[in-house]
């Protein structure tokens, strides 16, 4: 059975002249089929929000001096923290894949006189940037340079 939707959903400003049965949410929302993927996509919002603050704290401590930063690094070695970061990585990759799949069609056929490249090329560009940036960051952070 589908859940109830907002009682006013798709109701005209002046309600119709006869009594109606209240609207229901789409079948399968939120837990089934494609809805599950979509809800998961939104739920990654929590991961991102937390990641924002986690990184904020890390950078704050980095600015506070060596002891602060080492504290951060110690905390990161905690298995719970590692677990969360793994989850976050999965979430981030999932977001990227879903979003880059949708991204090309969200581009207007024209912005002023400029036409964006065809979907396939656009997608290729996105993935190149994503993979490229990740490689560079990994290389730099993991000690490959400087």
């Amino acid at each position: 059975m589908a859940r109830a939707a907002h009682p006013q959903a798709m109701q005209p400003k002046k309600p119709g002249t006869t009594r109606t049965a209240p609207p229901k949410m789409p079948d399968g929302f939120p837990g089934k089929g494609r809805y599950r993927t979509y809800v998961a996509f939104e739920t990654t919002g929590l991961i991102y929000l937390l990641m924002g603050f986690i990184i904020l704290r890390a950078i704050w401590q980095l600015g506070a001096g060596e002891a602060g930063w080492n504290g951060v690094m110690d905390a990161y070695r905690n298995p719970i923290m590692i677990g969360f970061h793994v989850l976050a990585l999965v979430g981030v990759i999932f977001v990227g894949v879903r979003f880059f799949w949708l991204f090309p069609k969200a581009q207007p056929p024209r912005i002023g006189p400029v036409r964006p490249p065809p979907a396939a090329i656009l997608k290729g560009m996105l993935y190149s940037v994503w993979i490229g940036t990740t490689l560079v960051m990994t290389w730099v952070l993991a000690g490959g340079a400087f």
Binding site: V39, G45, Y48, G52, L56, L62, W69, L89, V95
Partner: protein, 119 residues
């Protein structure tokens, strides 16, 4: 409040969009090294030693990247959680929930700016 949200909607959406795109692109590398690789010993720990990190982070590019890593995910997070709240029947509370979430993102972003300036 609701009115203000409506007026700011395009900017919020812009921040969200950048969060989902650039945020994701930046987070992937960060998580691979800082979140998982080094703590699990896959990469050498001294790659993230204080001296080196400070050097990497305190130049202009470093500061911009770090600021992006803090601010962008916050907006993607706040906005998506707001949508999630609506999808679970929060249409009527949307203005309050939304404002709260964005307030969190704003505070986080301001602190983020301070944090990178302090480096």
């Amino acid at each position: 409040m609701k009115q203000l949200l409506i007026v700011l909607e395009p900017v919020i959406w812009f921040m969200f969009g950048q969060g989902i795109m650039i945020g994701t692109i930046l987070l992937t590398g960060w998580l691979i090294v800082v979140g998982v690789g080094v703590p699990m010993g896959i990469f050498p720990a001294d790659a993230l030693a204080y001296e080196r990190m400070h050097m990497l982070g305190s130049n202009v590019i470093g500061r911009v990247v770090l600021l992006g890593l803090i601010v962008l995910p916050l907006w993607k997070g706040a906005h998506h959680l707001r949508s999630l709240a609506v999808d679970f029947g929060g249409g009527d509370r949307d203005a309050i929930v939304g404002s709260l979430l964005y307030l969190i993102a704003i505070v986080g972003s301001l602190l983020g700016i301070v944090a990178v300036i302090r480096l």
